[in-house]
């Protein structure tokens, strides 16, 4: 019985809770039990917050008894450990923030708290969200619930693995170059990066501020739509959050995509696994069968998105990470002079990938190189955005693979930073143009999930949710339980 409680959707859980067939406390205990059984294998969490969660679940049960119920009251949720929370440590996967306690909640966390959600823990991430495998976490890697020898993707690999494994019903992550969509794809679940400006970043540990967005993970498109609705909207604390009304996203999940125009890339990049290409082709035929039309589009500058990203993102990161100075919070080396203290604190506190990106960004912004790298990259960013503007005059959404391959093996790409960066070749373009993107499971290759991505027009999350939902309902990929979960549960 308890085992089944860890495969519920939000709507199924809501019905059980509201009919008082299951209490929020029982629902939580089932998830804590799942965590106890699976964490020794997966390591999806940096911190499990069982005590906080138990108090929240008890409170949720009181609210349910009083009829004071919102969509997420009593729902177990995991939070990527780059989101500030007042009642748990926030590490960003880095030694430099070990022991840090935020004096405030991120706006998205506060919104979920007000709804009466239950926070089961803070999930593992590449250090400062810089990575594509969760292997850059200072707290050790997370493993993929489909195959423990493989990475869950990254940087939000902990959130993706936790949801795939039934350790939480849904989770939040952050996506700067694919860090929600790519791990959702590798773990066989749904992940959405909202439009830049849709969700407040107040209380998100900053990586690259012109690219970062917070977004939801779920095992179904409907769960992702519900969680997106709960976190979206303008926030006076984040002047980049846009004052636009937030639609009721679940209203768009009609299953009807007749007449929808889906663009596919004519100039697809090299290096795509043929099994991924085949699964995407199958998915496009399914979508056509549902009444959508598939039309070729060109994004002439898409192959420049990756090099552009690896100038802009590290540049912004080098500025954002200047705040870790051993003075205000976090690690401090305790050296005698201010300069020595900066050098030693940052040298000891940051891991190799973060150091690499700080160096790269500092180089691109330094005198003599600023125009050739940073300004040039900003101009290419304009070209990339214009490509999408042109494409969206002809189609409603663009469909492409989430990743060129399925989940790779641990250690396979850690020695070659460029190989690791190439994992994000299909997710980075949406960040460069600020557009919403969703990853939805669309097949298996070598027993591992393949993922289909839809990119939509700015602030049109509703349409990518609609098409992803219609596809999901016409297929059964989202219903497969990851084999490691089945094995661990079966060997009880």
């Amino acid at each position: 019985m308890k085992q089944e409680l860890t495969r519920l959707t939000i709507r199924q859980a809501r019905e059980l809770l509201d009919r008082r067939e299951v209490s929020a406390q029982e629902l939580l205990e089932a998830h804590l039990e799942q965590i106890a059984q699976l964490e020794p294998h997966l390591h999806a969490f940096i911190t499990v917050t069982a005590d906080v969660a138990r108090a929240q679940a008890a409170h949720a049960d009181r609210r349910i008894a009083e009829g004071d119920v919102l969509p997420l009251t009593g729902i177990p949720i995991a939070l990527k450990d780059v989101l500030c929370t007042i009642d748990a440590p926030t590490t960003a996967g880095s030694r430099i923030l070990e022991g840090f306690r935020s004096p405030y909640d991120a706006t998205v966390v506060a919104k979920l708290r007000e709804q009466g959600a239950v926070f089961v823990g803070k999930t593992n991430t590449d250090e400062f969200a810089m990575g594509s495998s969760t292997e850059n976490s200072a707290y050790g890697p997370t493993r993929n619930p489909w195959d423990l020898e493989r990475v869950p993707g990254g940087s939000s690999g902990g959130s993706a693995a936790a949801v795939a494994a039934g350790e939480a019903i849904v989770a939040l992550g952050s996506d700067t170059g694919g860090s929600i969509r790519q791990p959702a794809g590798f773990c066989g679940i749904v992940g959405l990066k909202p439009t830049y400006g849709r969700v407040s970043r107040y209380g998100l540990v900053a990586f690259a501020s012109s690219l970062d967005q917070i977004g939801p993970f779920g095992r179904t498109v409907e769960d992702v739509a519900i969680l997106l609705g709960a976190i979206s909207g303008h926030d006076p604390h984040d002047s980049t959050s846009v004052p636009l009304p937030v639609p009721t996203y679940t209203d768009f999940l009609t299953g009807d995509i007749r007449g929808l125009r889906i663009g596919v890339l004519e100039n697809e990049a090299e290096g795509v696994d043929p099994a991924v290409t085949a699964a995407i082709q199958d998915a496009l035929r399914t979508l056509e069968g549902l009444g959508a039309t598939v039309e070729p589009v060109t994004l002439p500058h898409i192959s420049y998105a990756l090099p552009t990203y690896y100038i802009i993102a590290p540049s912004e990161a080098s500025a954002n990470l200047a705040r870790y100075d051993g003075v205000k919070y976090g690690l401090s080396a305790g050296k005698d002079t201010l300069l020595e203290n900066y050098l030693e604190t940052r040298g000891r506190g940051f891991g190799p990938e973060v150091k690499r990106r700080i160096m790269l960004g500092t180089y691109a912004l330094s005198a003599g190189y600023y125009d050739a790298y940073y300004v040039k990259a900003q101009k290419v960013r304009t070209l990339i955005k214009r490509d999408f503007d042109t494409a969206f005059t002809k189609v409603d959404v663009i469909a492409l693979p989430t990743s060129p391959t399925v989940a790779f093996r641990l250690g396979e790409r850690t020695e070659d930073p460029l190989q690791m960066y190439l994992a994000d070749i299909f997710t980075i373009p949406a960040n460069m143009a600020g557009l919403p993107g969703i990853a939805v499971p669309c097949g298996l290759a070598q027993g591992l999930p393949v993922s289909l991505q839809f990119i939509g027009k700015a602030f049109d999350e509703a349409t990518i949710l609609r098409v992803a939902h219609a596809y999901e309902q016409a297929t059964s990929w989202h219903t497969i339980v990851p084999p490691v979960v089945a094995q661990v549960k079966g060997s009880q």
């Binding site: 840090f100 306690r101 004096p103 405030y104 830049y196 400006g197 012109s210 002047s239 980049t240 846009v242 420049y304 090099p307 552009t308 690896y310 100038i311 080098s318 100075d325 003075v327 205000k328 919070y329 976090g330 690690l331 401090s332 305790g334 050296k335 002079t337 201010l338 300069l339 203290n341 900066y342 050098l343 940052r346 040298g347 000891r348 940051f350 190799p352 150091k355 690499r356 700080i358 160096m359 790269l360 500092t362 180089y363 330094s366 050739a372 300004v375 040039k376 990259a377 900003q378 101009k379 290419v380 960013r381 304009t382 070209l383 955005k385 930073p417 460029l418 143009a433 600020g434 700015a458």
Partner: protein, 96 residues
């Protein structure tokens, strides 16, 4: 290929203390990444304006109203060293 002098200079600008081994590895890895990203130089962007961010908001202003902020104790709760309500740091300028 980047020179050691450049790597040392950038590390100092970034206030990043690196070991000898890290500097040599950084020199090789950054050179390879810079080779890759330099592909963008082949594009003609003479007439293209730069994009710093993609949303069409400009000069977001609010009314100048006094609002509660974090209590001083909360702001200092994570400080490695604090004194009399301030962050304590080493002297920046020495007394002559």
């Amino acid at each position: 290929m980047l020179s050691r002098e450049i790597v040392d200079h950038i590390a100092m600008l970034a206030r990043l203390g690196l070991t000898e081994e890290e500097r040599e590895r950084m020199r090789i890895q950054l050179s390879s990444i810079l080779d890759h990203v330099s592909r963008i130089q082949e594009l003609d962007t003479e007439a293209i304006p730069p994009t710093a961010q993609v949303i069409e908001l400009h000069d977001v202003m609010r009314d100048d109203v006094v609002q509660p902020s974090l209590p001083q104790a909360a702001v200092l709760q994570n400080a490695p060293a604090a004194e009399n309500g301030y962050f304590r740091v080493n002297a920046v300028l020495e007394q002559s």
